[in-house]
Protein backbone atom coordinates (compact mmCIF):
# COMPACT_ATOMS: atom_id res chain seq x y z
CA UNK A 1 0.00 0.00 0.00
CA UNK A 2 1.03 3.60 -0.52
CA UNK A 3 1.10 6.19 2.22
CA UNK A 4 1.67 9.96 2.01
CA UNK A 5 3.87 11.32 4.77
CA UNK A 6 2.97 14.97 5.28
CA UNK A 7 5.72 16.82 7.06
CA UNK A 8 4.75 19.81 9.19
CA UNK A 9 7.04 22.18 11.06
CA UNK A 10 7.20 25.65 12.62
CA UNK A 11 9.26 27.80 10.19
CA UNK A 12 10.66 29.71 13.18
CA UNK A 13 11.91 26.50 14.76
CA UNK A 14 13.27 24.89 11.61
CA UNK A 15 14.99 27.95 10.18
CA UNK A 16 15.80 29.63 13.49
CA UNK A 17 19.43 28.52 13.40
CA UNK A 18 19.53 26.10 16.33
CA UNK A 19 22.22 23.41 15.99
CA UNK A 20 19.60 20.64 16.24
CA UNK A 21 17.48 22.17 13.44
CA UNK A 22 20.52 22.79 11.26
CA UNK A 23 21.64 19.19 11.69
CA UNK A 24 18.16 17.91 10.73
CA UNK A 25 18.11 20.18 7.67
CA UNK A 26 21.53 18.94 6.60
CA UNK A 27 20.28 15.34 6.71
CA UNK A 28 17.03 16.07 4.87
CA UNK A 29 18.51 16.32 1.39
CA UNK A 30 19.95 12.81 1.63
CA UNK A 31 16.95 11.10 3.18
CA UNK A 32 15.23 10.42 -0.16
CA UNK A 33 18.30 8.34 -1.06
CA UNK A 34 17.95 6.31 2.14
CA UNK A 35 14.31 5.60 1.28
CA UNK A 36 15.24 4.73 -2.31
CA UNK A 37 17.91 2.31 -1.13
CA UNK A 38 15.44 0.54 1.17
CA UNK A 39 12.81 0.38 -1.60
CA UNK A 40 10.16 2.42 0.25
CA UNK A 41 10.42 5.61 -1.82
CA UNK A 42 7.74 6.40 -4.42
CA UNK A 43 7.99 10.17 -4.77
CA UNK A 44 8.54 13.22 -2.64
CA UNK A 45 9.06 16.95 -2.70
CA UNK A 46 9.97 19.57 -0.14
CA UNK A 47 7.80 22.70 -0.27
CA UNK A 48 8.77 26.37 -0.25
CA UNK A 49 7.18 28.36 2.61
CA UNK A 50 3.47 29.18 2.12
CA UNK A 51 4.14 32.90 1.57
CA UNK A 52 5.12 31.90 -1.97
CA UNK A 53 1.86 30.01 -2.58
CA UNK A 54 -1.43 30.88 -4.20
CA UNK A 55 -4.85 29.49 -3.26
CA UNK A 56 -7.51 29.26 -5.93
CA UNK A 57 -11.09 28.20 -6.30
CA UNK A 58 -13.58 27.87 -9.15
CA UNK A 59 -17.24 28.70 -8.41
CA UNK A 60 -19.96 29.07 -11.09
CA UNK A 61 -17.29 28.58 -13.72
CA UNK A 62 -15.23 31.54 -12.48
CA UNK A 63 -11.79 31.15 -11.04
CA UNK A 64 -10.61 33.38 -8.25
CA UNK A 65 -7.22 33.23 -6.60
CA UNK A 66 -5.66 34.77 -3.54
CA UNK A 67 -2.12 34.72 -2.29
CA UNK A 68 -1.29 32.78 0.74
CA UNK A 69 -2.65 30.82 2.70
CA UNK A 70 -1.80 33.65 5.15
CA UNK A 71 -2.96 31.71 8.08
CA UNK A 72 -2.02 32.48 11.62
CA UNK A 73 -1.05 28.84 11.99
CA UNK A 74 2.30 28.23 13.49
CA UNK A 75 2.97 24.90 11.77
CA UNK A 76 3.06 24.72 7.98
CA UNK A 77 3.07 21.85 5.54
CA UNK A 78 6.68 21.66 4.48
CA UNK A 79 7.01 18.51 2.43
CA UNK A 80 5.33 15.42 1.09
CA UNK A 81 6.85 11.97 0.68
CA UNK A 82 4.90 9.07 -0.77
CA UNK A 83 6.14 5.68 0.37
CA UNK A 84 5.29 2.05 -0.30
CA UNK A 85 4.79 0.02 2.89
CA UNK A 86 3.18 -3.26 3.91
CA UNK A 87 0.80 -1.63 6.37
CA UNK A 88 0.17 1.45 8.51
CA UNK A 89 2.62 0.34 11.22
CA UNK A 90 5.42 -0.15 8.70
CA UNK A 91 4.65 3.29 7.18
CA UNK A 92 4.83 4.87 10.64
CA UNK A 93 8.13 3.13 11.35
CA UNK A 94 9.61 4.29 8.03
CA UNK A 95 8.37 7.88 8.51
CA UNK A 96 9.80 7.96 12.03
CA UNK A 97 13.27 7.79 10.50
CA UNK A 98 12.84 11.13 8.70
CA UNK A 99 15.15 13.83 10.10
CA UNK A 100 12.29 16.34 10.47
CA UNK A 101 10.38 13.93 12.75
CA UNK A 102 12.67 15.23 15.50
CA UNK A 103 11.75 18.89 14.80
CA UNK A 104 8.16 18.92 13.51
CA UNK A 105 5.34 16.37 13.02
CA UNK A 106 4.67 13.84 10.31
CA UNK A 107 1.13 12.84 9.37
CA UNK A 108 0.95 9.43 7.71
CA UNK A 109 -2.10 9.17 5.42
CA UNK A 110 -3.04 6.13 3.34
CA UNK A 111 -3.34 6.99 -0.35
CA UNK A 112 -6.86 6.46 -1.76
CA UNK A 113 -7.50 3.14 -3.48
CA UNK A 114 -10.16 4.04 -6.07
CA UNK A 115 -11.28 0.42 -6.34
CA UNK A 116 -12.69 0.74 -2.81
CA UNK A 117 -16.07 2.33 -2.01
CA UNK A 118 -16.13 6.02 -1.14
CA UNK A 119 -16.40 6.97 2.52
CA UNK A 120 -19.98 7.35 3.79
CA UNK A 121 -20.35 10.38 6.04
Amino acid sequence: MRYACLIYYHPQTLFGGSPQANAALAECAGYDEVLKASGHFVTGEALVLPEEAMTLQVRDGKMSAVDGPFMETKEVLGGIIVIEARDLNEAVRVASGHPLATIGHIEVRPVVDFSQPRPVL
Binding site: M1, N89, E90
Partner: protein, 406 residues
Protein backbone atom coordinates in the same frame (compact mmCIF):
# COMPACT_ATOMS: atom_id res chain seq x y z
CA UNK B 1 13.03 -17.50 -14.01
CA UNK B 2 10.55 -15.06 -15.59
CA UNK B 3 9.83 -11.75 -13.85
CA UNK B 4 6.23 -12.80 -13.17
CA UNK B 5 7.42 -16.22 -11.94
CA UNK B 6 9.89 -14.65 -9.54
CA UNK B 7 7.24 -12.28 -8.29
CA UNK B 8 4.78 -15.10 -7.60
CA UNK B 9 7.55 -17.14 -5.99
CA UNK B 10 8.54 -14.22 -3.73
CA UNK B 11 4.90 -13.79 -2.69
CA UNK B 12 4.74 -17.46 -1.72
CA UNK B 13 8.01 -17.31 0.19
CA UNK B 14 6.80 -14.15 1.95
CA UNK B 15 3.62 -15.91 3.09
CA UNK B 16 5.39 -19.04 4.31
CA UNK B 17 8.71 -17.68 5.60
CA UNK B 18 8.40 -13.98 6.54
CA UNK B 19 7.09 -14.51 10.10
CA UNK B 20 9.67 -17.17 10.90
CA UNK B 21 12.47 -15.01 9.47
CA UNK B 22 11.19 -12.08 11.56
CA UNK B 23 11.09 -14.22 14.72
CA UNK B 24 14.75 -15.15 14.25
CA UNK B 25 15.85 -11.62 13.28
CA UNK B 26 14.30 -10.19 16.46
CA UNK B 27 16.54 -12.53 18.47
CA UNK B 28 19.64 -11.78 16.38
CA UNK B 29 19.17 -8.00 16.19
CA UNK B 30 17.61 -7.43 19.61
CA UNK B 31 14.41 -5.57 18.71
CA UNK B 32 11.26 -5.39 16.59
CA UNK B 33 12.11 -2.23 14.63
CA UNK B 34 15.55 -3.36 13.55
CA UNK B 35 14.18 -6.82 12.68
CA UNK B 36 11.31 -5.45 10.62
CA UNK B 37 13.64 -3.19 8.67
CA UNK B 38 16.00 -6.13 8.16
CA UNK B 39 13.12 -8.32 6.96
CA UNK B 40 12.18 -5.66 4.45
CA UNK B 41 15.80 -5.35 3.30
CA UNK B 42 16.11 -9.12 2.99
CA UNK B 43 13.10 -9.37 0.68
CA UNK B 44 14.32 -6.36 -1.32
CA UNK B 45 17.65 -8.20 -1.78
CA UNK B 46 15.78 -11.38 -2.77
CA UNK B 47 13.76 -9.49 -5.39
CA UNK B 48 17.00 -8.23 -6.85
CA UNK B 49 19.13 -11.40 -6.68
CA UNK B 50 16.82 -14.42 -7.02
CA UNK B 51 15.83 -13.72 -10.66
CA UNK B 52 19.53 -13.85 -11.60
CA UNK B 53 20.85 -16.49 -9.22
CA UNK B 54 17.77 -18.68 -8.87
CA UNK B 55 15.86 -19.62 -5.75
CA UNK B 56 18.22 -20.53 -2.86
CA UNK B 57 18.05 -24.08 -1.50
CA UNK B 58 16.92 -22.76 1.89
CA UNK B 59 15.06 -19.43 1.50
CA UNK B 60 14.67 -19.05 5.29
CA UNK B 61 18.44 -19.17 5.96
CA UNK B 62 19.18 -16.99 2.95
CA UNK B 63 16.72 -14.31 4.14
CA UNK B 64 17.92 -14.41 7.77
CA UNK B 65 21.54 -13.97 6.76
CA UNK B 66 20.74 -11.29 4.14
CA UNK B 67 18.67 -9.30 6.65
CA UNK B 68 21.24 -9.66 9.40
CA UNK B 69 24.18 -8.82 7.12
CA UNK B 70 22.56 -5.68 5.73
CA UNK B 71 21.56 -4.38 9.15
CA UNK B 72 24.96 -4.98 10.72
CA UNK B 73 26.62 -3.42 7.68
CA UNK B 74 24.43 -0.33 8.10
CA UNK B 75 25.13 -0.19 11.86
CA UNK B 76 28.84 -0.54 11.12
CA UNK B 77 28.76 2.51 8.87
CA UNK B 78 26.92 4.50 11.55
CA UNK B 79 29.27 3.22 14.27
CA UNK B 80 32.32 4.21 12.28
CA UNK B 81 30.95 7.75 12.26
CA UNK B 82 30.16 7.61 15.99
CA UNK B 83 33.36 5.77 16.96
CA UNK B 84 31.67 2.76 18.60
CA UNK B 85 32.89 0.11 16.17
CA UNK B 86 34.39 -2.44 18.62
CA UNK B 87 31.04 -3.23 20.31
CA UNK B 88 29.48 -3.87 16.95
CA UNK B 89 32.20 -6.19 15.81
CA UNK B 90 31.36 -8.33 18.83
CA UNK B 91 27.70 -8.46 17.74
CA UNK B 92 28.50 -9.43 14.18
CA UNK B 93 30.78 -12.30 15.26
CA UNK B 94 28.25 -14.20 17.34
CA UNK B 95 25.52 -16.62 16.16
CA UNK B 96 27.23 -17.69 12.96
CA UNK B 97 26.38 -21.35 13.71
CA UNK B 98 23.86 -23.09 11.41
CA UNK B 99 20.20 -22.81 12.32
CA UNK B 100 18.29 -26.03 13.02
CA UNK B 101 14.52 -26.53 12.70
CA UNK B 102 14.38 -26.56 16.52
CA UNK B 103 15.98 -23.11 16.63
CA UNK B 104 13.40 -21.76 14.19
CA UNK B 105 10.53 -23.23 16.23
CA UNK B 106 12.02 -21.78 19.42
CA UNK B 107 12.14 -18.34 17.84
CA UNK B 108 8.46 -18.55 16.86
CA UNK B 109 7.57 -19.60 20.39
CA UNK B 110 9.62 -16.72 21.86
CA UNK B 111 7.71 -14.34 19.61
CA UNK B 112 4.34 -15.69 20.80
CA UNK B 113 5.34 -15.35 24.45
CA UNK B 114 6.60 -11.78 23.98
CA UNK B 115 3.46 -10.70 22.09
CA UNK B 116 1.21 -12.25 24.78
CA UNK B 117 3.21 -10.90 27.73
CA UNK B 118 0.99 -10.02 30.72
CA UNK B 119 2.70 -6.59 31.00
CA UNK B 120 0.92 -5.57 27.77
CA UNK B 121 -2.72 -4.45 27.67
CA UNK B 122 -5.05 -7.30 26.58
CA UNK B 123 -6.12 -5.44 23.39
CA UNK B 124 -2.48 -4.83 22.54
CA UNK B 125 -1.56 -8.52 23.00
CA UNK B 126 -4.18 -9.51 20.44
CA UNK B 127 -3.18 -6.88 17.86
CA UNK B 128 0.53 -7.58 18.29
CA UNK B 129 0.09 -11.37 18.06
CA UNK B 130 -2.02 -11.11 14.91
CA UNK B 131 0.46 -8.79 13.22
CA UNK B 132 3.83 -10.20 14.32
CA UNK B 133 3.03 -13.91 14.63
CA UNK B 134 0.06 -14.12 12.28
CA UNK B 135 1.44 -11.84 9.59
CA UNK B 136 -1.81 -9.86 9.20
CA UNK B 137 -1.45 -6.22 8.22
CA UNK B 138 -2.64 -3.47 10.57
CA UNK B 139 -5.47 -2.74 8.13
CA UNK B 140 -6.60 -6.40 8.06
CA UNK B 141 -6.71 -6.54 11.87
CA UNK B 142 -8.68 -3.27 11.89
CA UNK B 143 -11.25 -4.68 9.44
CA UNK B 144 -11.63 -7.90 11.41
CA UNK B 145 -12.20 -6.00 14.67
CA UNK B 146 -14.27 -3.19 13.08
CA UNK B 147 -11.83 -0.72 14.61
CA UNK B 148 -10.14 2.24 12.86
CA UNK B 149 -6.66 1.30 11.57
CA UNK B 150 -4.92 4.14 13.48
CA UNK B 151 -6.33 2.74 16.77
CA UNK B 152 -4.83 -0.69 16.04
CA UNK B 153 -1.57 0.92 14.82
CA UNK B 154 -1.35 2.91 18.06
CA UNK B 155 -1.82 -0.22 20.19
CA UNK B 156 1.01 -1.92 18.31
CA UNK B 157 3.34 1.09 18.58
CA UNK B 158 2.69 1.38 22.34
CA UNK B 159 3.10 -2.34 22.96
CA UNK B 160 6.46 -2.37 21.19
CA UNK B 161 7.60 0.67 23.16
CA UNK B 162 6.61 -1.14 26.34
CA UNK B 163 8.53 -4.28 25.37
CA UNK B 164 11.59 -2.11 24.72
CA UNK B 165 11.25 0.11 27.80
CA UNK B 166 10.63 -2.76 30.20
CA UNK B 167 13.30 -4.94 28.61
CA UNK B 168 10.87 -7.83 28.27
CA UNK B 169 13.21 -10.72 27.44
CA UNK B 170 12.90 -12.57 24.14
CA UNK B 171 12.71 -16.07 25.52
CA UNK B 172 10.46 -19.02 26.27
CA UNK B 173 9.61 -18.68 29.99
CA UNK B 174 11.30 -21.14 32.34
CA UNK B 175 9.46 -23.87 34.19
CA UNK B 176 8.46 -21.68 37.15
CA UNK B 177 6.99 -18.91 35.01
CA UNK B 178 5.56 -21.12 32.27
CA UNK B 179 2.06 -21.88 33.65
CA UNK B 180 1.05 -18.22 34.07
CA UNK B 181 2.67 -17.12 30.79
CA UNK B 182 1.13 -20.04 28.89
CA UNK B 183 -2.27 -19.13 30.31
CA UNK B 184 -1.91 -15.60 28.93
CA UNK B 185 -0.82 -16.91 25.50
CA UNK B 186 -3.68 -19.43 25.33
CA UNK B 187 -6.14 -16.73 26.37
CA UNK B 188 -4.98 -14.46 23.51
CA UNK B 189 -5.37 -17.33 21.04
CA UNK B 190 -8.86 -18.19 22.35
CA UNK B 191 -9.95 -14.52 22.22
CA UNK B 192 -8.83 -14.35 18.59
CA UNK B 193 -10.80 -17.54 17.87
CA UNK B 194 -13.92 -16.27 19.65
CA UNK B 195 -13.80 -12.96 17.81
CA UNK B 196 -13.83 -14.94 14.57
CA UNK B 197 -16.53 -17.33 15.76
CA UNK B 198 -18.96 -14.90 17.38
CA UNK B 199 -21.84 -14.08 15.08
CA UNK B 200 -21.55 -10.33 15.34
CA UNK B 201 -21.47 -8.06 12.30
CA UNK B 202 -18.56 -7.69 9.91
CA UNK B 203 -17.30 -9.31 6.73
CA UNK B 204 -17.58 -13.07 7.19
CA UNK B 205 -14.38 -13.79 5.27
CA UNK B 206 -11.99 -11.96 7.60
CA UNK B 207 -13.81 -13.50 10.56
CA UNK B 208 -13.24 -17.05 9.29
CA UNK B 209 -9.60 -16.06 8.77
CA UNK B 210 -9.32 -15.17 12.47
CA UNK B 211 -10.51 -18.68 13.41
CA UNK B 212 -8.06 -20.26 10.98
CA UNK B 213 -5.21 -18.16 12.38
CA UNK B 214 -6.14 -19.00 16.00
CA UNK B 215 -6.14 -22.70 15.13
CA UNK B 216 -2.77 -22.34 13.38
CA UNK B 217 -1.35 -20.64 16.50
CA UNK B 218 -2.90 -23.32 18.69
CA UNK B 219 -1.23 -26.04 16.59
CA UNK B 220 2.09 -24.20 16.76
CA UNK B 221 1.99 -24.10 20.56
CA UNK B 222 0.94 -27.76 20.75
CA UNK B 223 3.79 -28.78 18.42
CA UNK B 224 6.36 -26.86 20.42
CA UNK B 225 5.21 -27.35 24.02
CA UNK B 226 3.83 -30.61 25.33
CA UNK B 227 1.37 -28.93 27.70
CA UNK B 228 -2.08 -30.45 28.41
CA UNK B 229 -3.91 -27.11 28.44
CA UNK B 230 -2.49 -26.25 25.00
CA UNK B 231 -3.89 -29.56 23.74
CA UNK B 232 -7.18 -28.74 25.45
CA UNK B 233 -7.48 -25.32 23.80
CA UNK B 234 -6.67 -26.68 20.34
CA UNK B 235 -9.24 -29.46 20.80
CA UNK B 236 -11.87 -26.95 21.96
CA UNK B 237 -11.29 -24.73 18.92
CA UNK B 238 -11.37 -27.70 16.53
CA UNK B 239 -14.69 -28.88 17.99
CA UNK B 240 -16.26 -25.43 17.52
CA UNK B 241 -14.78 -25.25 14.03
CA UNK B 242 -16.26 -28.66 13.16
CA UNK B 243 -19.76 -27.20 13.71
CA UNK B 244 -19.16 -23.86 11.96
CA UNK B 245 -21.18 -24.61 8.82
CA UNK B 246 -24.30 -25.60 10.79
CA UNK B 247 -24.24 -22.74 13.29
CA UNK B 248 -25.98 -20.16 11.14
CA UNK B 249 -28.90 -20.72 8.75
CA UNK B 250 -29.34 -19.34 5.21
CA UNK B 251 -30.66 -16.04 6.67
CA UNK B 252 -27.63 -15.65 8.91
CA UNK B 253 -29.64 -16.50 12.05
CA UNK B 254 -28.07 -18.51 14.85
CA UNK B 255 -29.08 -22.18 14.99
CA UNK B 256 -29.15 -23.72 18.49
CA UNK B 257 -27.03 -26.78 19.15
CA UNK B 258 -30.07 -29.07 19.40
CA UNK B 259 -31.37 -27.89 16.00
CA UNK B 260 -28.09 -28.18 14.07
CA UNK B 261 -27.75 -30.75 11.27
CA UNK B 262 -25.28 -33.12 12.90
CA UNK B 263 -24.59 -34.97 9.66
CA UNK B 264 -22.77 -31.85 8.44
CA UNK B 265 -20.34 -31.68 11.38
CA UNK B 266 -16.73 -32.19 10.31
CA UNK B 267 -15.85 -35.70 11.55
CA UNK B 268 -12.16 -35.27 10.69
CA UNK B 269 -11.78 -32.28 13.02
CA UNK B 270 -13.82 -34.01 15.74
CA UNK B 271 -11.55 -37.08 15.52
CA UNK B 272 -8.43 -34.94 15.78
CA UNK B 273 -9.87 -33.11 18.80
CA UNK B 274 -10.76 -36.38 20.54
CA UNK B 275 -7.19 -37.59 20.11
CA UNK B 276 -5.89 -34.39 21.75
CA UNK B 277 -8.39 -34.67 24.61
CA UNK B 278 -7.42 -38.28 25.23
CA UNK B 279 -3.75 -37.36 25.53
CA UNK B 280 -4.49 -34.33 27.72
CA UNK B 281 -6.74 -36.30 30.10
CA UNK B 282 -4.11 -39.05 30.33
CA UNK B 283 -1.63 -36.46 31.64
CA UNK B 284 -3.78 -36.10 34.78
CA UNK B 285 -3.14 -32.32 34.70
CA UNK B 286 -6.70 -31.30 34.01
CA UNK B 287 -7.34 -27.61 33.30
CA UNK B 288 -10.30 -25.49 32.19
CA UNK B 289 -9.62 -25.81 28.43
CA UNK B 290 -9.43 -29.61 28.58
CA UNK B 291 -12.70 -29.78 30.53
CA UNK B 292 -14.49 -27.44 28.11
CA UNK B 293 -13.13 -29.47 25.20
CA UNK B 294 -14.28 -32.72 26.84
CA UNK B 295 -17.79 -31.27 27.24
CA UNK B 296 -17.86 -30.10 23.60
CA UNK B 297 -16.64 -33.54 22.55
CA UNK B 298 -19.59 -35.29 24.24
CA UNK B 299 -21.97 -33.04 22.29
CA UNK B 300 -20.04 -33.81 19.10
CA UNK B 301 -20.24 -37.56 19.70
CA UNK B 302 -24.01 -37.68 20.26
CA UNK B 303 -25.88 -38.61 17.06
CA UNK B 304 -28.99 -36.80 18.36
CA UNK B 305 -29.55 -34.33 21.24
CA UNK B 306 -31.50 -37.06 23.07
CA UNK B 307 -28.44 -39.36 22.90
CA UNK B 308 -26.21 -36.86 24.73
CA UNK B 309 -24.53 -38.23 27.85
CA UNK B 310 -25.80 -35.45 30.13
CA UNK B 311 -24.70 -37.17 33.33
CA UNK B 312 -21.08 -37.16 32.14
CA UNK B 313 -21.45 -33.50 31.10
CA UNK B 314 -22.68 -32.59 34.60
CA UNK B 315 -19.64 -34.38 36.10
CA UNK B 316 -17.29 -32.39 33.85
CA UNK B 317 -19.06 -29.15 34.80
CA UNK B 318 -18.64 -30.09 38.48
CA UNK B 319 -14.87 -30.30 37.88
CA UNK B 320 -14.90 -27.05 35.91
CA UNK B 321 -16.82 -25.22 38.67
CA UNK B 322 -14.29 -26.49 41.24
CA UNK B 323 -11.32 -25.42 39.07
CA UNK B 324 -12.50 -22.14 37.55
CA UNK B 325 -15.70 -21.02 39.27
CA UNK B 326 -17.74 -18.40 37.44
CA UNK B 327 -21.48 -17.64 37.26
CA UNK B 328 -21.52 -18.42 33.51
CA UNK B 329 -20.05 -21.89 34.13
CA UNK B 330 -22.59 -22.48 36.95
CA UNK B 331 -25.41 -21.47 34.64
CA UNK B 332 -24.20 -23.87 31.93
CA UNK B 333 -23.96 -26.58 34.58
CA UNK B 334 -27.59 -25.85 35.53
CA UNK B 335 -28.66 -26.36 31.89
CA UNK B 336 -26.87 -29.75 31.89
CA UNK B 337 -28.53 -30.67 35.20
CA UNK B 338 -31.94 -29.86 33.69
CA UNK B 339 -31.22 -32.39 30.93
CA UNK B 340 -29.70 -35.03 33.21
CA UNK B 341 -31.99 -34.79 36.26
CA UNK B 342 -34.84 -32.43 35.53
CA UNK B 343 -35.85 -28.74 35.39
CA UNK B 344 -36.87 -28.42 39.08
CA UNK B 345 -33.36 -29.27 40.32
CA UNK B 346 -31.83 -26.91 37.72
CA UNK B 347 -34.14 -24.05 38.75
CA UNK B 348 -32.88 -24.32 42.35
CA UNK B 349 -29.28 -23.87 41.09
CA UNK B 350 -30.21 -20.90 38.88
CA UNK B 351 -32.07 -19.20 41.75
CA UNK B 352 -28.85 -19.22 43.76
CA UNK B 353 -26.83 -17.42 41.07
CA UNK B 354 -25.85 -13.78 41.37
CA UNK B 355 -25.93 -12.56 37.77
CA UNK B 356 -28.13 -9.47 37.75
CA UNK B 357 -28.31 -7.35 34.62
CA UNK B 358 -27.62 -9.95 31.92
CA UNK B 359 -30.24 -11.70 29.79
CA UNK B 360 -28.66 -15.12 30.43
CA UNK B 361 -30.39 -15.98 33.74
CA UNK B 362 -33.94 -14.98 32.67
CA UNK B 363 -33.39 -16.83 29.35
CA UNK B 364 -32.55 -20.06 31.18
CA UNK B 365 -35.29 -19.51 33.79
CA UNK B 366 -37.79 -18.99 30.97
CA UNK B 367 -36.81 -22.34 29.42
CA UNK B 368 -36.92 -24.20 32.74
CA UNK B 369 -40.29 -22.71 33.78
CA UNK B 370 -41.71 -23.62 30.34
CA UNK B 371 -40.65 -27.24 30.87
CA UNK B 372 -42.27 -27.17 34.33
CA UNK B 373 -45.53 -25.95 32.75
CA UNK B 374 -45.44 -22.63 34.65
CA UNK B 375 -46.20 -20.65 31.46
CA UNK B 376 -47.11 -17.22 32.94
CA UNK B 377 -43.89 -17.02 34.92
CA UNK B 378 -41.94 -18.35 31.90
CA UNK B 379 -43.41 -15.65 29.62
CA UNK B 380 -42.45 -12.90 32.09
CA UNK B 381 -38.85 -14.23 32.26
CA UNK B 382 -38.50 -14.44 28.46
CA UNK B 383 -39.81 -10.89 28.09
CA UNK B 384 -37.36 -9.68 30.73
CA UNK B 385 -34.54 -11.50 28.88
CA UNK B 386 -35.59 -9.81 25.61
CA UNK B 387 -35.39 -6.39 27.29
CA UNK B 388 -31.87 -7.10 28.62
CA UNK B 389 -30.57 -8.69 25.42
CA UNK B 390 -28.42 -6.46 23.14
CA UNK B 391 -28.35 -8.73 20.07
CA UNK B 392 -31.32 -8.06 17.76
CA UNK B 393 -31.55 -11.61 16.41
CA UNK B 394 -31.44 -13.20 19.85
CA UNK B 395 -34.07 -10.75 21.06
CA UNK B 396 -36.51 -11.69 18.31
CA UNK B 397 -36.01 -15.40 19.12
CA UNK B 398 -36.81 -14.71 22.81
CA UNK B 399 -39.94 -12.68 21.99
CA UNK B 400 -41.09 -15.42 19.60
CA UNK B 401 -40.84 -18.00 22.38
CA UNK B 402 -42.72 -15.72 24.81
CA UNK B 403 -45.54 -15.23 22.27
CA UNK B 404 -45.91 -18.98 21.69
CA UNK B 405 -46.67 -19.39 25.41
CA UNK B 406 -49.93 -17.50 24.74
Amino acid sequence: MSVAGTHACLETVYRTEARRVLATLIRLLGGFDAAEEALHEAFAAAAEQWPRQGLPANPYSWLVSAGRFRTIDCWRREARLAGTLPELLALSEQTAEPITPEDIADDELRLIFVCCHPALAPDARIALTLREVGGLTTEEIARAYLTPAPTIAQRIVRAKARIRDEDIPYEVPDRGELPARLESALQVIYLIFNEGYAATQGPSLTRADLCAEAIRLGRLVVDLLDQPEAHGLLALMLLHEARRATRVDANGDLVLLEDQDRSLWDRGLIGEANGLIGRALASRQVGPYILQAAIASIHAEAARTADTDWTRIVELYDELVALAPSPVVELNRAVAVAMATGPAEALRIVDGLDMAGTHLVPTVRGELLTRLGRYDEARAELELAARLCTNERERSVLLGKARRLG
